[in-house]
């Protein structure tokens, strides 16, 4: 047990109503301590994205509790959950999902401008340097390779010093070498920033960089030995 990381207890997420319900998450228990790098593998539609959505406060579960450093992430107000996300959660999306109009350094500056976080935000240039992108600070996403985009995406997720890093299929668009580099970077940042990281992936190749691996099947989460 930890009161500084992510704690999910008996989390169930049901979509739809009547006979047509889909059980996306079925009694999920998961604890991720700061500095821990957890991977979740499993087939498409097993509920991996739902797990990230609930952990990051994007979706409120049907039942169960989710806390991050003791903070309830299942509050009903969407505005309050947005505030929790910008203060405590970093997202890394598939293929980076950067804003086309922004240069690499501006991608990182943007989240710090969402309000109330100015003083806590890390320096964008230093962060870019940390992920090995200092040379390309003024490039826009279309001028970067897939791996470079992902590096910028990781730096962006870390700028507000989150407690929780949620990573969605970071290697979906990358070749083997780039995949390893990106996941290695995630592992290193997880340790250096003492952040609890949950990565959802199809890519069994990169699991050796992770602390713990879970498999998700039909909404149930099981440890992989």
């Amino acid at each position: 047990m930890t009161d500084t990381g992510l704690v999910m207890r008996g989390v169930t997420l049901r979509f739809g109503d009547g006979d047509d319900t889909v059980l996306a998450l079925d009694g999920v228990d998961l604890t991720v301590a700061p500095g821990q790098f957890v991977a979740v593998v499993g087939p498409s539609g097993a509920g991996k994205s739902s797990l990230l959505a609930v952990a990051g406060g994007l979706t409120v579960p049907t039942s169960g509790s989710v806390t991050l450093a003791g903070q309830d992430m299942t509050v009903p107000s969407a505005r309050a959950r947005a505030a929790l996300r910008r203060e405590s959660v970093g997202f890394v999306f598939q293929s980076g999902n950067l804003i086309p109009a922004l240069t690499a350094v501006d991608q990182i500056r943007l989240p710090a401008r969402f309000g109330g976080l100015g003083s806590r935000a890390r320096d964008a240039v230093a962060l870019l340097d940390e992920v090995g992108m200092a040379q390309k600070a003024n490039r826009r996403p279309h001028q970067l390779s897939g791996g470079e985009r992902q590096r910028v995406g990781i730096a962006r997720a870390l700028v507000n010093r989150p407690r929780l890093l949620l990573v969605d299929e970071p290697t979906a668009a990358l070749d083997r070498t780039r995949s390893h580099e990106v996941v290695e970077l995630l592992a290193r940042e997880t340790k250096e920033n003492d952040v609890a990281t949950v990565m959802v992936t199809h890519d069994h190749d990169v699991l050796r960089h992770c602390t713990t691996v879970y498999e998700m099947i039909d909404g149930r989460l099981m440890p992989v030995p």
């Binding site: 994007l58 505005r79 947005a82 929790l84 997202f91 999902n97 962006r156 959802v200």
Partner: protein, 375 residues
């Protein structure tokens, strides 16, 4: 503005095209507004510059042709003078005539017959004031068109000869025709069709078009009471503009076109930002997943629309004003700063409203779609 400005710079071509459309509409609106003001000047500047607050026409006169149809007995003038808060009242005669200058050039004139000693007698910039029998004082525009002080003009058909004794400083036109002020009795003879040397029929000097009434400064005359006493039907000076030939039709046509342009501009801006917002759905979902407050995204979007509109309307007004100043003398055209300011403001406000309708869609983008296979 952080994102808004960078997007404007990044999607220069798209925003540029959009801005160009708004700018062209702004040019058109400025030119139309110039044409509008020009036509208003041409139609009623003669009336605008009369120091009267209202005109009392014959009871029951058709409002859109009051100046040409109304006949009032001159006794109504005294009745109006006796009304409270009336500073002065004077007989006023109006007629549109064809004439020929000494050199044979055909000219049209709007004759304003007024007593030479009344408050209606116009100030002159050149020559002398009304007074001489058959002497007329003409609009500056008639001088610009080639008429000279000292010239003689002959009224068609009846042959009355009028001499230009003076010219006013400004444009005085009525129904697109230059105004010539002349002594009331001469106007009454021309109106009655009396040829020079003929005997004047009884009653000729009793008929006028209307009573021009001037209220005490700052006070309002009870027009209904005055009308009851004098047996007339009053129109304020502004209302009487509608009685100038073609005035209502011209101004309402132009106004209709202007309002269509405002509506088109708002719709075009709205359509553009609708497409733009839909194109950005995925990145808006990402921003919202990262916890961007909805208010931040809405403010950013509106600021972007406002910046684009300011640039486009500004450029359009500048080009329109420059083009307007090149419009030649033959076309009724006058740029008026307040009219242009109102037009620019309307383009901004309506364009922003159109954009706002599109931009509020940001609030409906589900941050969940940033994750996984939903994209």
């Amino acid at each position: 503005m952080f994102l808004a400005v960078r997007e404007l710079r990044f999607a220069k071509a798209r925003f540029g095209l959009m801005g160009a459309v708004v700018a062209l509409i702004a040019v058109l609106v400025v030119l139309l507004s110039g044409l509008s003001s020009g036509l208003v000047n041409d139609g009623v500047s003669g009336l605008q510059r009369i120091p009267a607050t209202s005109f009392a026409f014959a009871d029951g006169v058709q409002h859109d042709a009051a100046f040409s149809r109304s006949v009032v007995d001159i006794s109504a003038v005294d009745s109006w003078k006796a009304q409270p808060r009336v500073a002065d009242a004077a007989p006023f005669g109006n007629a549109l005539i064809n004439a020929r200058s000494g050199s044979g050039v055909e000219i049209d004139l709007a004759l304003f017959g007024v007593p030479t000693d009344s408050f209606l007698a116009p100030p002159v910039d050149e020559g002398s004031r009304l007074g001489a029998a058959n002497g007329i004082v003409v609009s500056r525009t008639a001088i610009d068109a080639g008429l000279r002080v000292g010239d003689t003009v002959t009224v068609d058909r009846i042959g009355t000869r009028l001499t230009v004794v003076g010219a006013m400083a400004d444009q005085h036109t009525f129904g697109h025709v230059d105004v010539a002020y002349l002594p009331l009795p001469v106007w009454q003879e021309i109106k009655a069709g009396v040829r020079p040397g003929e005997s004047v029929p009884d009653g000729t000097y009793d008929e006028i078009t209307a009573v021009a009434v001037r209220s005490v400064d700052g006070a309002e005359v009870d027009l209904a009471a005055g009308d009851r006493a004098a047996g007339t039907e009053s129109l304020t000076r502004t209302e009487s503009f509608g009685a100038s030939p073609g005035y209502t039709a011209e101004t309402s046509t132009l106004r209709l076109i202007e309002w269509f342009l405002y509506a088109i501009s708002a719709l075009v801006v709205g359509a553009f930002f609708t497409v733009w917002t839909i194109q950005r759905r995925a990145e808006i979902a990402v921003l919202r997943a990262m916890g961007a407050p909805t208010g931040y995204l809405l403010r950013d979007g509106l600021a972007q629309a406002l910046a684009l509109l300011l640039l486009a309307v500004g450029a359009g007004v500048a080009v329109g004003t420059a083009a307007g100043s090149l419009v030649g003398g033959g076309i009724p055209f006058a740029l008026s700063a307040p009219a242009i300011a109102v037009a620019a403001l309307l383009l901004l406000v309506l364009g922003l409203a159109g954009a706002a309708v599109a931009i509020v869609r940001i609030a409906a983008v589900d941050p969940l779609t940033a994750l996984g296979a939903n994209r």
